[in-house]
Symmetry: C2
Subunit: 260 residues, 2 copies
């Protein structure tokens, strides 16, 4: 009896027409039946947003390499919920998000639409990977990232991941020959030092444009995605939705709590 092919749900945050999602589908199709459900426009920086104040419009699309494809007005996390609860007849075996045009290492995970989709998949019991290339250009070449993604999917599937496993994978923007391999690590500590550019619209109305510089708070040697990427490794950080700060929880239990 022929073994049923895995169902692979693919989404992203750069929108259904981006180069990155095309590269991802071109690889993933060799591992199973691909269904694409992706935003109809760029959704970078959307964090774990979901659409609660309006409806979501879904349109069928054609997508080379995919058995099924839909674009929608929702966020990346919406796309995964739509797949799980409305558009698909069975639960996907794997959820892939990306390939993102831009790094999502360190604290960027909390702002990332790419990673919100992957995390949403894992929360729904679908092993998931969010994949990002450390190059912000929408024109970035995806050949090397596609090659890495093939190795990554092979590795992921052969190690039989837990159904709630979510990996945040970042690929350094260097030639394949310079990469040193895959590396599990923790999320590095860092943050953005922001500033706002003051601009004017054509009608004279002022607006502010967010921009910033990422600061690495880790020491030179650390078992983090920041170190891994700086040393030409592909970083693999398992992430989850439990945001409890257990260290502060222990301290809190010593607090004097007032009442009444």
């Amino acid at each position: 009896m022929e073994r049923k092919k895995p169902l692979i749900l693919i989404t992203n945050d750069d929108g259904i027409t981006s180069h990155g999602i095309k590269a991802l589908v071109s690889v993933a199709k060799d591992f199973g039946d691909v269904c694409v459900i992706a935003p109809d426009k760029p959704q970078s920086g959307m964090g774990h947003a979901i659409t609660v104040h309006s409806g979501i419009t879904v349109s069928e699309a054609s997508f080379p390499g995919a058995k099924l494809a839909f674009s929608c007005t929702g966020t990346p996390a919406d796309c995964v919920k739509l797949g799980k609860y409305h558009l698909l007849q069975q639960k996907p075996d794997l959820c892939l998000s990306g390939i993102n045009h831009g790094a999502n290492m360190s604290l960027n995970v909390i702002y990332s639409g790419t990673m919100s989709a992957a995390l949403e998949g894992a929360l729904e019991g679908i092993p998931s990977i969010g994949i990002s290339l450390c190059n912000n250009s929408t024109e970035a070449k995806m050949d090397t990232s596609a090659k890495v993604t093939r190795i990554l999917i092979e590795t992921f599937m052969s190690n039989k991941p837990d159904q709630n496993l979510c990996l945040n994978v970042n690929i350094p923007d260097v030639p394949f020959e310079e990469m040193k391999g895959l590396r599990f690590c923790r999320q590095g500590k860092g943050n953005w030092k922001e500033y706002y550019k003051e601009r004017k619209h054509a009608d004279g109305k002022e607006y502010l444009w967010l921009t910033g510089k990422f600061e690495n708070f880790e020491p030179a040697n650390s078992d983090t995605d920041l170190w891994a990427l700086n040393n030409n490794y592909v970083s693999l950080v398992p992430v989850h939705g439990d945001m409890t700060n257990y260290k502060e929880l222990e301290k809190g239990k010593e607090w004097e709590l007032r009442w009444g």
Copy 2:
């Protein structure tokens, strides 16, 4: 010499005109100089979204009880970044987000605009509290929540919180006399079982409306916000931006990693 009053930054995700933020300012003004920077429209479910694809327009506003007030077109997290990096001359001593019309316990923290603002504050070195009332009505009475918030701020400030402490506080929707006090706990495990209502716009175009039912995955007795709220405690969960799943990281280090 007179001691300088603390500067308190206040935001929310229900927008600057909501009842909840008015209740919060009415209490917070007794603890320091209040600056309100809030979205000009509801931003529920925005997760940790930030505005990266467009500019943000900021308008000065008048707000009873606040020394300074601005509304803006940005997200809750944007409001805190704007305060820290552009609108304020000094770093706030405390950041408060809410009072949200609706619960943000358990997994809801990852979808919550209220909590994204509080977490953003803590990431910027400002001790922060996100406060939510477990009642989704935009007309919900805030008197009891205001009373709880006063006790909460007193408790928070008197215990000299770390500059990166972020508390996710949920207030049960019961009379004050029935509440049992403040309680530190971890984020409870749970998730939404979703479904989509199919609707049509006036022009006949179809859309989907997300709705769902929250499922509690915890046992009857657990040291979680879910248990605390069910037992009429005000739940205090310290949260942070490190999303690493350390348990899965240990497992991952045993994986056979392919390459080339």
